[in-house]
């Protein structure tokens, strides 16, 4: 079929999950604004490409009334310029280019910037700050890892191509036979769709990951572990000893861990115990660990917020400089306490998954949303922008879960503006309204004037 209406986009990138696979071959029906075929995509990727056509929606809604993007920008800028404790949240499903402008706005208005990391692998970020980590790009794991241990995650359903493209079956430079050259271990509290991939499955009792990890650390360091560990964790000492022997004797070992560790009892202690175990193992062989990250560009959000502020998430600018405060400046907490008096939510839907007290407060304050789709949050927003979808309509950069940046190749144009365009408009208008960056109130000068 040599239809001019059909366009093929090779080497396109799927931004659904943190795998950020960049080998898509997309078939685009240009007139229909639809991707009709997405070769190489997994089941999640196929749905992502299929469901992001162009819907006939207003460019913006202000208080439920249809408005232009420009009117929306004016209203949003007024809200942010007026607010005393504005918060900006989301960012994991947009480009780094948009993320950079979002942090710039937070800096300019003296607001709060936070990303979905704070409800995802935030504890891993905190563990990293305390310990560091030994890590690697996915290509090193593909080419070298002969022992891979998945912990607290279900990649088969959440990151379907992780196994085939990076970590289990692919042949690599020093893994010539692919799957046969690897030992795969899976640790989880239940059997999942991922379990069959494993050579060894360790079913730990719920809420005992930390104890298992700490027992492994002890064994690695040559300490004795009491056999009662089995009653506590569900894993027999002999099984742990076998695993330790495998970990010490492999040539290149890798942990890939999920939110089963970070959003569980122990949180950053769990992530920290795993990172520490990987570090300890480097006394014996080469060992790395990496969190399996969720949304397409959440890793980009971590990177952007870090390079602009020094901290990865939960950052507040109200004193004229960045302050880091997990538990204090993380969005769930800011909202649940009722601190924020305006919120801009970018490419995220907190009203659908935050704790009720946080959602209740979102309903009390003016909210601005940027989203290609209607969401629970956009429905309670004062200003709701319709945006183009990153990676499908919008070019830019997304970071894979292993911090590798990838340039997006949009498949077809959208009539709607990108997050970046809207954010730039808001930033420029707020700058005019505030006469430049907002300066924090100088209390000493105010006191002297009294």
């Amino acid at each position: 079929m040599s239809d001019e209406n059909i366009r093929i986009v090779p080497d396109a990138t799927c931004t659904f999950c943190g795998c950020v696979c960049d080998d898509m071959v997309l078939t685009v029906d240009v007139q229909q604004h639809k991707i009709t075929k997405s070769q190489n995509a997994c089941v999640l990727g196929k749905a992502w490409f299929k469901e992001h056509g162009i819907e006939d929606r207003p460019f913006a809604l202000i208080g439920g009334r249809e408005a232009t993007t420009e009117e929306g920008i004016e209203e949003a800028a007024q809200i942010l310029a007026r607010a005393r404790f504005p918060i900006i949240y989301g960012l994991s499903d947009t480009t780094c280019e948009a993320q950079r402008v979002a942090v710039a706005i937070a800096d300019m208005i003296g607001g709060n910037i936070d990303t979905t990391t704070s409800v995802c692998h935030g504890p891993t970020g905190i563990a990293f700050q305390g310990l560091g980590e030994s890590t690697a790009t996915l290509g090193e794991i593909k080419n070298r890892a002969d022992l891979i241990i998945f912990w607290g995650g279900n990649p088969a359903e959440a990151h379907p191509r992780l196994f085939a493209r990076y970590a289990v079956t692919p042949k690599g430079m020093y893994i010539p036979n692919g799957r046969k050259d690897r030992t795969i271990v899976l640790v989880d509290v239940r059997r999942t769709a991922s379990t069959p991939v494993a050579d060894i499955f360790l079913q730990v009792k719920p809420r005992s990951d930390f104890e298992v990890l700490w027992a492994l650390r002890a064994l690695v360091k040559g300490h004795k572990v009491d056999p009662s560990i089995e009653q506590r964790t569900g894993i027999a000492l002999a099984v742990l000893e076998d695993l330790v022997a495998r970990m010490k004797s492999c040539r290149f070992g890798a942990f890939l861990f999920g939110m089963g560790l970070t959003m569980n009892r122990g949180r950053h202690f769990n992530a920290g115990a795993l990172l520490a175990l990987a570090t300890d193992l480097n006394e014996f062989t080469h060992f790395v660990a990496a969190p399996v990250r969720g949304h397409g560009n959440v890793t980009g959000a971590d990177n952007v917020v870090s390079w602009q502020t020094g901290y990865p998430f939960g950052v507040n600018f109200s004193r004229g400089f960045p302050r880091f405060g997990p538990g204090e400046f993380t969005t769930v907490d800011v909202l649940a306490r009722g601190d924020a008096d305006a919120a801009m939510i970018i490419a995220s839907d907190p009203a659908s998954n935050f704790p009720q007290p946080a959602i209740d407060h979102l309903k009390r304050i003016p909210v601005i949303t940027l989203d290609p789709k209607t969401s629970v949050t956009s429905q309670l927003a004062r200003v709701a922008f319709t945006t183009a979808t990153y990676g499908i309509n919008v070019a830019g950069t997304a970071y894979r879960m292993d911090n590798v940046p990838i340039t997006l190749r949009p498949a077809f144009a959208s009539p709607y503006p990108s997050d970046e365009q809207i954010l730039r408009g808001i930033r420029d208008r707020v700058r005019v309204l505030l006469g430049g960056n907002r300066m924090p109130v100088d209390t000493s000068a105010a006191a002297a004037a009294l």
Binding site: S134, T137, V288, S306, Q308, F321
Partner: protein, 561 residues
């Protein structure tokens, strides 16, 4: 467009043009130095002040994947050093690894207008360019890590030297980088694939490759020279930090055999040993190293001085960082990049009472004081490895002020001083002219930046004006004026304007057919599509291509555009 400007009454230090404190006007128009401007042009009275070209940092770590990991790693370091926003400049955080905005503003506030990020994985080039765009005021570029590159190794071991050269040129072009960088060549394969081993000898076989560090180093020196790159290959030698490593350093410099090569942070590579015992405390071999550099005009070096206090070790030399971890035992990062590099990061504090730290400090000073050609032994602390760039003014004072140096020497571990030659170099004090060479004119010349590091007609109007002060640390800490591209960024010590600097990069020519050699390797072993690997122009924004010698000859233009 930046206005016209005439700087009058200042003492001008412009070594590239032989100006040694001459009182003369410096005129600026459209971002460049010009011979004259009309009388109505704004005048800056620099009476009692020193006028120099903007500082050029030849080697620092300020942007990219490893820098951002180091940033994320140290909230405690940021917390005590906030960088406040102003009406028109961004806020940030400082410490040894500042946020990007703080990095740009703080360099500018020291009178620096250009800096080179010295170690970027090619796969991380995009990330680096994004950060550099968020690094204001200064011009910047970066070196790519190629000294452990698996594809380049494969070509080399098969003797395919021409394809090796084309592939290197492709890599420099594809990443929009400035120069090739070698780090502990040969070590990655042993580190990643050999249970965290390291390579120790130049003639040792590199893991599975039919190669040695010697062969690798020689091939890169040759290829970089053949390509006519503005800066030669930038070498972090093997055995960094190890007692007795000076012999490796001398041998590495000999490999050049008259060809251009730059040895970086050479202080870390100038250690001897007591009576040939490698396990013992190191001694200084600064004299041997300085003598070799002095007598070999093809070799250049930056010192990589150590300054006491907090630092962050961040290096593509993963085995080194792992070794250092044993001394601190605190946080540690290892980060492997497929087929391209290793990386190690850890916070580190240099303490004046510790023998090794004091010796390192002394060796850095010795190298400066023994150098006979300031154009080829230039200024660096390998920021933030030897110390933050914020310590540059203090290092300048140590070089310029013998009495101050004596006071500082009295505070450090005396056994270390005994094993250094620092006391024997006490006669020398650097002049302002020499400081202008090692911090500006020299680095610019070594980088092949013909429009930087001097104030001749046609040069970039990147100018720093310092108030003269007997306390050189104070003088160099707070320039009165800083101009970038002719725009007054700092006036009366305060920021007056924001500015976006340029990315400086090379684009050497290569045979496009080389992609047929590169692509199959990508398809077999990389996890990113070949077509998605090269960095496109959307990441460049303001930029300038610095031509190779061949490109310069073809266009007749020395500065590029």
């Amino acid at each position: 467009m930046a206005a016209m400007l005439r700087i009058v009454n200042g003492r001008v230090y412009d070594p590239a043009n032989g100006m040694d404190g001459v009182v003369r006007d410096v005129c600026v128009e459209d971002g460049r130095i010009v011979a004259d401007v009309p009388p109505e042009a704004r005048k800056i009275d620099a009476g009692g002040m020193v006028v120099m070209p903007g500082g050029v940092d030849i080697h620092c770590h300020i942007a990219g994947s490893k820098v951002n990991l180091a940033r994320k790693l140290q909230p405690e370091d940021h917390r005590r050093d906030p960088h406040l926003r102003t009406r028109f400049t961004r806020s940030g955080t400082g410490g040894t690894v500042p946020s990007t905005f703080a990095t740009g503003y703080r360099y500018a506030a020291l009178g620096y207008t250009a800096a080179m990020e010295a170690a970027v994985t090619p796969l991380g080039a995009r990330h680096t360019l994004e950060e550099l765009q968020d690094t204001p005021v200064i011009d910047k570029g970066f070196f790519i890590l190629v000294g452990n590159n698996v594809l380049l190794y494969r070509l080399l071991q098969e003797g395919r030297h021409e394809e090796f050269r084309h592939t290197l040129a492709w890599w420099l072009s594809a990443t929009k980088s400035y120069a090739p960088k070698l780090v502990n060549p040969g070590s990655d394969e042993l580190w990643k694939g050999g249970r965290n081993a390291n390579i120790t000898r130049l003639d040792e076989k590199i893991g599975p490759f039919d190669l040695t560090p010697r062969k690798v180093i020689s091939a890169f020196i040759g290829a970089a020279n053949d390509l006519g790159l503005p800066h030669p290959v930038h070498i972090h030698c093997n055995n960094l930090g190890h007692t007795g490593n000076y012999e490796t350093t001398l041998e590495t410099m000999r490999i050049a055999e008259g060809r251009r090569a730059h040895i970086t942070h050479i202080q870390f590579h100038s250690y001897g040993s007591v009576a040939g015992k490698s396990g013992d405390n190191p001694t200084s071999k600064a004299r041997e190293i300085a003598e070799f550099v002095n007598t070999h005009p093809n070799i250049s070096a930056d010192v990589g001085a150590v300054m006491f206090g907090r630092s962050t070790s961040m290096t593509a030399d993963a085995p080194l960082a792992y070794m250092l971890r044993r001394f601190g035992g605190g946080k540690w990062v290892n980060a492997d990049t497929e087929h391209e590099s290793g990386c190690g990061i850890l916070p580190f504090t240099y303490q004046d009472h510790i023998y090794t730290n004091a010796l390192q400090w002394a060796i850095g000073l010795e190298l400066f004081l023994l150098s006979e050609d300031p154009w080829r032994m230039v200024f660096s602390t390998d920021h933030p490895n030897g110390g933050s760039f914020m310590s540059y003014p203090k290092l300048i004072r140590l070089l310029m002020d013998r009495e101050f140096r004596k006071e500082e020497m009295a505070k450090v571990n005396q056994a270390a001083l005994e094993n250094s030659g620092l006391r024997d170099c006490q006669g020398r004090e650097y002049s302002l002219y020499e400081i202008a060479i090692i911090t500006r004119a020299g680095p610019a010349r070594l980088l092949g930046l013909t429009s930087k590091g001097h104030l001749g007609v046609g040069a970039d109007a990147d100018i720093t004006i310092y108030e003269e002060n007997a306390d050189k640390e104070l003088m160099f800490s707070t320039p009165r004026y800083v101009l970038k591209d002719g725009e007054l960024i700092i006036e009366d010590h305060e920021f007056r304007a924001d500015h976006e600097g340029r990315v400086l990069h090379v684009a050497p020519d290569y045979d496009p057919a080389i992609e047929q050699v590169i692509q199959p390797f990508f398809e077999a072993f990389y996890t990113i599509q070949f077509a998605n690997y090269p960095v496109d122009a959307s990441y460049l924004h303001h930029h300038q291509v610095i031509p190779t010698t061949a490109q310069m000859a073809a266009t007749g233009s020395p500065a590029g555009s």
